[in-house]
Amino acid sequence: MSAAAAPAAAPPDPLLVRVTGVVKEFATRSASPFRRERLQAVAGVSFGLRRGETLGLVGETGCGKSTLARCIVRLHELTAGELLFDGADLSRATQSELRPFRRRMQMVFQDPYGSLNPRRRVGSIIGDPFAIHDVAAGRERMRLVQVLMDLVGLNPEHYNRFPAEFSGGQRQRIAIARALALRPELVVCDEPVSALDVSIQAQILNLLVDLQRELGLTYLFISHDLAVVRHVSDRVAVMYLGRIVELAPAGLLYASARHPYTAALLAAVPAFEPGARSRRAPLVLAGDPPSPLEALRGCRFHARCPRAQARCRAEEPALESRVGDDPGHLTACHFPLADGEAPGPATGSGA
């Protein structure tokens, strides 16, 4: 299997992953044992992941971005909706049916301290996937592990060390090596640099970009850091309360955001410019995002949106391409922003 560095044959579908109307609900404890409350973390999401691209997924805490990612690699069962991986329907697949697909999809987590067993040697941690999937054993496994360590920029001679002997950045390299062991096609990166020092983040981001080019990986890249997401992503999806509110090629999204929520998020990022705060447009995002437990009608953002009108409270906008926009630029908003418009109240007639 070690020769299969790239996907075997040219596949007919340009999309590696297709999700349609995916919903994920969790049961929550409620005050009364007779009333079951459901929390809808992902509330009907559809998009495709192209082979070899990086799709960035951004949004505030609790918007459902991590839950969506876990649904895609089927660490969660889907409540509703369809998930296709390389054409195969995994929406209702059982654990044993999923097994052959597991090696093709991997995850890298935020916390390189919590995701590595401190009592095991690094070589055996990275070698786990070979053992689990019965790929290689003994000297051959050790050789493959050392190739991986070299690939991610670790010294292969440190094979017998424990995680505690490595710094945060090196630990994240270990986690990446483990994720890449079986040559996956899809790697879901959930905040992979958020726990790292600023001076180390760029090392890991460059590594991820290099590995993608070298191995033809497809990334779903989750982060709350909008600058990091812009740097690594081909396209970016913005989530709010379980829904994608805007999806566009990275450059377009950052230069001409259409959804007021996207624009407000971008405006909240500190600029690398002294005194930028005083020049900044008035703050739009007041308060906290509403709880996904509350019943929601209409656009999910309407309660915090400065442009909201009666229609926004009644009718949920669809995620679609707007007239005059790039066909790849999808927005779910009744009153999207024009180029260069600040996310204030809609002026003029407004759609």
């Binding site: 505030e60 805490t61 710094s167 950045g169 090196q170 020092d197 600023v198 001076s199 180390i200 983040q201 760029a202 090392q203 981001l205 460059n206 970009v209 709350h224 909008l226 600058a227 990091v228 812009r230 740097h231 990275a250 450059g251 950052y254 407000a264 998020l265 971008l266 405006a267 909240a268 990022v269 500190p270 600029a271 690398f272 410019e273 002294p274 005194g275 930028a276 705060r277 703050l283 995002l285 007041a286 308060g287 906290d288």
Partner: protein
């Protein structure tokens, strides 16, 4: 520029502060030779990565670094905090220097209502009846933007969101109208939208109360927006010190420049990031010379000797600790 507290006496004047810890592996020199001053209404940004000593330096000033060996001078309105008796230092911690920390989730006691904790804090420093302290707690919570404060005052910490908890921490910190607020990574655990709200709140309170602020952060963007002056720390030392506009206009120390270069930008796509190579050093048995030397692309033989923090040519009050700065090389 606001006038100093009294003629010639600065609000806070720290000189040659050193903090070290004895550990089984050796002596950790967490902070060495740190000097800075603070005037009312001003904000100093202490910027650095984890282990740079930025948090422990301020904690040591007010006696909150247990087990630490602290030397140097820390004059608060002319009195040295490092030699103050415990009782007086406790008073300074209430009315003089208040602190808010990175994780509001662990800074409040989970089993007591938020308001109760503020009331206790007020009553620990002022002889006021509980009723009166409670009324003040409600007023403070309202002031920092907690909606329906008169009802939320009896909520437990888990009933607050992360942003609301940080607001409650700020309410507690400003309750005694401190002269200095130390904010240690106050927004790191928060979303950018909430971060912007909290930074705005802090700036507003600062204007209103005339507080000085020490903002400890690893985020150059947050510091750029908030601080009047900045001090860049690395391995326990100050490597560069300047007014914020100067620092961004003329970053002079190779470390500062490397940090600025390594960040992806929101407003422009770059093909490839320029990382700072290597790892931050261990603080045990730090080699002599410039601490950034092993990672510095411009290091020369002379860097084996520790460079002093000296004024660089041109800008008023712009210091850097690098042999190459000011020679035209950097």
């Amino acid at each position: 520029m606001p006038a100093p507290a009294a003629a010639g006496v600065r609000l806070l004047d720290v000189r040659d502060l050193a903090v070290s810890f004895r550990t089984p592996d050796g002596i950790v020199e967490a902070v060495r030779g740190l000097s800075f001053g603070l005037d009312p209404g001003r904000t100093l940004g202490l910027v650095g990565e984890s282990g740079s000593g930025k948090s422990v330096a301020t904690a040591a000033l007010v006696g909150l670094a247990p087990g630490a060996q602290v030397t140097g001078l820390a004059l608060y309105l002319g009195r040295d905090l490092l030699t103050l008796p415990a009782e007086e230092l406790r008073a300074v911690r209430g009315r003089g220097v208040a602190m808010i920390f990175q994780s509001p989730m662990t800074s409040l006691h989970p089993l007591y209502p938020v308001g109760w904790q503020i009331v206790e804090m007020i009553r620990a420093h002022e002889p006021v009846p509980t009723r009166q302290a409670r009324a003040r707690a409600i007023e403070l919570l309202g002031h920092v933007g907690i909606p329906r404060a008169e009802r939320r005052v009896d909520d437990y910490p888990h009933q607050y969101s992360g942003g609301m908890l940080q607001r409650a921490m700020i309410a507690m910190a400003i309750a005694l109208r401190p002269r200095i607020l130390v904010a240690d990574e106050p927004t790191t655990a928060l979303d950018v939208s909430v971060q912007a709200q909290i930074l705005r709140l802090l700036a507003g309170l600062q204007r209103e109360l005339g507080m000085a602020m020490i903002l400890i952060t690893h985020d150059l963007g947050v510091a750029a927006e908030t601080a009047d002056e900045m001090l860049v720390m690395y391995a326990g030392r100050a490597l560069e010190q300047a007014t914020t506009p100067d620092l961004f206009a003329r970053p002079s120390h190779p470390y500062t420049r490397a940090l600025l270069r390594s960040r992806p930008r929101l407003d422009a796509a770059v093909a490839r990031l320029t990382p700072v190579p290597g790892q931050p050093p261990s603080l045990i048995a730090l080699p002599a010379g410039c601490p950034f030397r092993p990672r510095c692309a411009e290091a020369v033989e002379r860097c084996a000797k520790t460079p002093p923090l000296v004024a660089i040519g041109g800008d008023e009050g712009h210091d850097a600790a690098c042999w190459l700065v000011g020679e035209g090389t950097a």
